[in-house]
Symmetry: C2
Subunit: 350 residues, 2 copies
């Protein structure tokens, strides 16, 4: 797809490292007064104006986290930023800057990296984030993206994952499992394509799932919504590895248990249809699928009136005493322990 067979495409070695960074980043505008100095020196300079600083970092690796056979580079750039911003929003903070480091093999022409940076730039524009630094180097194999996201918040605004209390309500934004099923659809289409390259797939019935996989959005809007509703979560985490895995983190860090109600888990109708088509249990997909980038948080019971009926928020359970354990209450009203079956980043083979 991006092999550099076309001699009209520009090889990276023709530009050199400094020319490459300049070329890829010269469209990026600085949007925050706090960004005193961006790209172009040994380090970026940021003035947090007395606020506390948030820092989070993630690596995305070709063949482990993404497959360029069906992930367009512009989407990949956008998604890589979202994955990182999501961690800042999960602290109830405002994301302000990112650094982007790339390792690329010579198989990628300049035009491929321009596509990738077009996605990064779109994400920066829409989410009001400044690109302030990075490193670009060659890799011996494939493409790797390392992003560090910075954010700011007043000290008393920050929400961590270790402060949920017994009796708090467990709330999730959006719906779950769609990204995972989007990936299943794309992987099936890839196999079909390998057998019959001229097949014209009709992906319309899967459009929402595919969009959730290829172009997820970080929930900046939820942080703003909660602020406008005057609800400060008691604890919060983002859902990257699957609902069950994140619930276990919240409970263990906060030393509480929980009751999660299967019937409350928000599922898109398209997800339910496609789970039937794939003969997968939609609850299992929602619990273990991952890459939702929704926010999972707890609120005091007193805040229920403020959030109820909001289409972006669903109460899915409540926190209990630690010794009561973490339990899923099924539709049949039986209680089963929640186990982590999220995607494990370290199971891949050499």
């Amino acid at each position: 797809m991006f092999e550099n067979k076309d001699q009209s495409r520009t090889s990276l070695s023709a530009l050199g490292e400094f020319g490459l960074i300049d070329h890829l980043t010269n469209n990026f505008a600085i949007q925050h007064a706090e960004t005193v100095k961006g790209i172009g020196d040994d380090a970026a300079v940021i003035d947090t104006k007395g606020k506390q600083l948030l820092v989070s970092t993630d690596l995305l690796i070709e063949g482990v986290h993404f497959d360029l056979a069906f992930m367009p580079l512009k989407h990949l750039g956008y998604k890589a930023v979202m994955v990182n911003l999501s961690d800042i929003y999960a602290m109830n903070a405002r994301a302000t800057q990112i650094t982007v480091s790339l390792a690329v093999s010579n198989r990628f022409p300049l035009e491929a990296l321009e596509e990738l940076y077009a996605g990064i730039e779109l994400a920066c524009e829409l989410y009001k984030v400044d690109l302030v630094g990075g490193d670009t180097t060659s890799s011996t194999k494939g493409l790797l993206i390392s992003i560090t996201a910075l954010g700011v918040a007043e000290a008393d605004e920050i929400v961590t994952r270790d402060t949920a209390q017994e009796g708090d309500l467990l709330v999730v934004s959006g719906d779950l499992g769609a990204s995972y099923m989007g990936l299943q659809v794309l992987e099936r289409e890839k196999q079909v394509h390998q057998v019959n390259p001229h097949a014209q797939p009709d992906l319309e019935p899967y459009s929402y799932l595919i969009e959730r996989q290829l172009k997820p959005e970080a929930r900046k809007d939820i942080v703003e919504l909660l602020k406008s509703l005057e609800v400060k979560p008691t604890a919060m985490i983002d859902i990257s590895d699957g609902l069950s895995s994140e619930i276990i983190h919240l409970c263990k860090k906060s030393d509480v248990g929980c009751r999660l109600y299967e019937e409350k888990i928000p599922l898109d109708p398209q997800l339910i249809n496609v789970c039937e088509e794939f003969e997968l249990d939609s609850t299992t997909v929602a619990l273990s699928g991952g890459e939702d980038y929704e926010l999972l948080f707890t609120v005091k019971q007193d805040d229920y009136e403020k959030i109820k009926g909001n289409p972006n928020l669903t109460v899915i359970g409540h926190m209990t005493a630690s010794q009561d354990g973490m339990n899923l209450i099924t539709r049949a009203n039986t209680s089963i322990p929640i186990v982590a079956r999220g995607w494990n980043a370290l199971q891949n083979e050499d």
Copy 2:
């Protein structure tokens, strides 16, 4: 060297991602009051106490930036931190936190990563830096380390690379070229070892050069020295790609020229001997070698009395008008233009 053939060694997939991060980082102590929250949540929290924040990031990739045939993993961990701290010191700032992300193939057992983290931990201890976050994932090939370093400084302490003035003195810390020649020695020994695995090399005559390559130190001490001498550089950069490349950056960013005196370039006696042995010109090695991690900076002429005679600092030239160009004045008193021939990170093959 680190192949997982020994069944007594622990495979990474046995731990899982979260177990691995916990295991590798549970010895790390938080040393700064500014580090409000380190590893263990969606993001780290830092209070810069009204100071400005510095951010820098670097990627190190096996087969591009390091060769595990002669780079012990503990040294690699240490060096990876140094490379990043050096960028913070080059802003005349104090390094305070790092995040470390790793991508590793299953060829590495847990014990190899423990070695790597032992080097990272030593660097954090000696340089008083807190490890506050990171990401650990699998790679399809080899080892990759992505580090982001954070630092703080008062706004009026920060020194950038674009503020050198005509007439300023050009100063460098330490000596140059040794790291590059250390690499040449190690690569020669690797070839000898491949031909005759039982050869016992005598590396004593190369000890300084090898140490500079395998265990470089970032010049925190120079930032502190300049502060104690009450000298604020007018511009500063660290030497990672070779003296000539960094001088060109300083001059272009500051819109000045320079005269660099060949006879002033500080060289270690061991470097001079080994350059003779390898039939290389020591000035060329110092100009283009790279990986010195010394600081290159400019000071006002009025500050000359404060720095002269200091064994850590050498005046190697002075800045001129931009139209006079960037010139090396040779020992034969001829003037030749300075060209960048530093190591180019993007020349490697796929």
